[in-house]
Symmetry: C2
Subunit: 341 residues, 2 copies
């Protein structure tokens, strides 16, 4: 992503919401649709849906030359732009900007220090000019210096009240209904589904099970270092202001190998950040499924590919033709995009 | 571990074995014992066995004040000395020494270069003097510079023929039958079982599912860095001679948090390297199970604790009293140690 992208918009925090249970529909309710009657009901019939059905049939039918035992049915999903909305800005930078405002009273020096000053004033031009280095400062100031338990509570509280600037809904409701059905359909066919995201691993884990049916131990993501220590006789993990792992681009196959230890047989992405994950998954012999979500629906969601400042789909779109990956045309392949439609 | 420990003995490779399927008993055969009739049949009745049964009853009985939903039933197991034999030397250094000999023909310079010369000559005194730094050189020379697929094949081939110096059996047969029953018993009660070991993650993953019923994605361990690259149009992960993560001592809670993302409710170890894992698991409120395998059986296995040069159980043994962890007395609590007895 380009640094500019982080600041192309700021989510606003609903002031009056209570810190209640997170408001997204639960996976159990949403997955039921997929289990009863029509398979993948939010997908239009056509070549894309058929590619999924054909692949699953090939690898699950006993006696098929392409049969894979359940243990090898590993499927990996990117998150931003693949499972939920990533425009007009990624969710995590929206969280960062809200956190800077929240923390400002105990950091009076921020009113005179960049990039904090710009973040507090919503000065997107200055923030953009501060680039990745500026963003890293904001991330470390808001993500480190506390324990893992404290951070988890902050994330849960934020998701309970934050709203997407266009859809005015909790971010967790902006997951794609067809992809949630696909996750459930794969699991019903013996697959183990993993998230492999450039996003922060501890920013996702508190809600992925409820929203996607993917438990924390099946989430791979970027992370900062933590340090074990005893404090007042209690063990804790303290979050350090130092990058540990960046799970994007060439990092995705590395993360898959380190966390999962098996090569997936199906992988789903939407941008050039997913190119290497799809290469690693599909270019190893055997029947494999590589899919890219192509954002073609400005009306129901967004339309962007080669020319966007982030979530760019360019090299991977070319590679899809060469490697016979299936490109999901959001506008034509999805009957509905969100559960709330 | 002290560096001396790595070289206190060298496993010999059986020359005539074929590179066939690995010879250990399969988990399916071994777990059957646990499923039928007596629970944990290789455990003698007594306080230790009862501690396990009481804990599982408390956290699985609906309506119990200590009930934990299946998703939270995470159990973590150390490997060396907890699930299989670690004396007279860890298995992985035995692998390293065998690999050095295997690779020597393409490294003629090793006959004049330490610590390789000492490794080739079985000169344990010089190897011991070379310390951790010397061991790191041998590890990188034998574990890096190849792809993950190549390394996996080397590991599988080695286990097919290597034999333990005392028991003259494949290392994978030297897993403890009571612990294999315990793993199966916990899984039968809705637990997800993980290995959290100081050993190399890619040294364990090829066989943990078959031997312990623990799939690769539930193995946490130490690792070196890998690099994604395309070579001749094929994606590969190349193993670099650089440490990535050391999953021991304070590293164990860090690894648990990074790979699993939930705090275990039961943890099993045997040495001071497991101290922090047991602290992290048990000192968080609620009914928790912390257990230490105490090697008290020189006849059937080995006897060591505070005075051994490696696998030392000292601080953790003191902590067990304070924290009410259960200490497994191998000699008295285990009816049999190995499946082949």
């Amino acid at each position: 992503m380009s640094s500019k992208s982080y600041f192309s918009g700021v989510s606003r925090r609903a002031l009056l919401s209570v810190l209640a249970a997170l408001p997204a529909l639960s996976i159990s309710a949403r997955a039921q649709t997929a289990a009863s009657g029509d398979t993948l009901p939010s997908w239009n019939d056509g070549a894309t849906k058929q590619a999924i059905l054909n692949f699953v049939a090939a690898v699950t039918r006993e006696g098929s030359p392409d049969f894979m035992p359940p243990a090898e049915r590993i499927a990996t999903f990117d998150n931003d732009g693949t499972l939920w909305v990533e425009h007009p800005m990624y969710t995590q930078p929206a969280f960062v900007l809200d956190r800077v405002k929240e923390m400002a009273p105990i950091h009076p020096e921020w009113t005179n220090t960049q990039p904090f000053k710009a973040a507090l004033e919503g000065d997107m031009k200055t923030l953009g000019a501060a680039g990745e280095h500026g963003m890293a400062k904001l991330v470390m100031a808001t993500h480190a210096g506390i324990t893992t338990e404290e951070f988890q509570k902050i994330v849960i509280d934020w998701f309970a009240t934050a709203r997407h600037p266009r859809f005015k809904r909790p971010y967790t409701e902006l997951s794609y209904q067809p992809m949630i059905e696909l996750l459930a359909y794969l699991r019903a066919n013996g697959f183990k589904t993993f998230i492999v995201s450039g996003g922060g691993i501890e920013f996702m884990r508190p809600w992925t099970e409820r929203v996607y049916g993917v438990p924390p131990e099946q989430v791979v993501g970027s992370s900062i270092k933590t340090k074990f220590q005893m404090r007042d006789g209690r063990p804790e993990l303290f979050r350090l202001p130092e990058m540990n792992f960046i799970d994007d681009n060439v990092g995705k196959p590395v993360g898959i190998n380190e966390f999962i230890g098996r090569r997936p047989i199906a992988a789903f992405g939407n941008s050039d950040g997913d190119l290497q994950m799809l290469q690693w998954t599909t270019m190893s012999g055997g029947v494999r499924l590589g899919m890219l979500v192509h954002h073609t629906d400005a009306e129901r969601e967004y339309a962007y590919d080669r020319d966007t400042s982030f979530g760019r789909l360019d090299k991977a779109l070319d590679a899809a033709i060469v490697n016979k990956w299936t490109v999901i045309d959001m506008k034509n392949d999805w009957k509905r995009v969100f559960a709330f439609e």
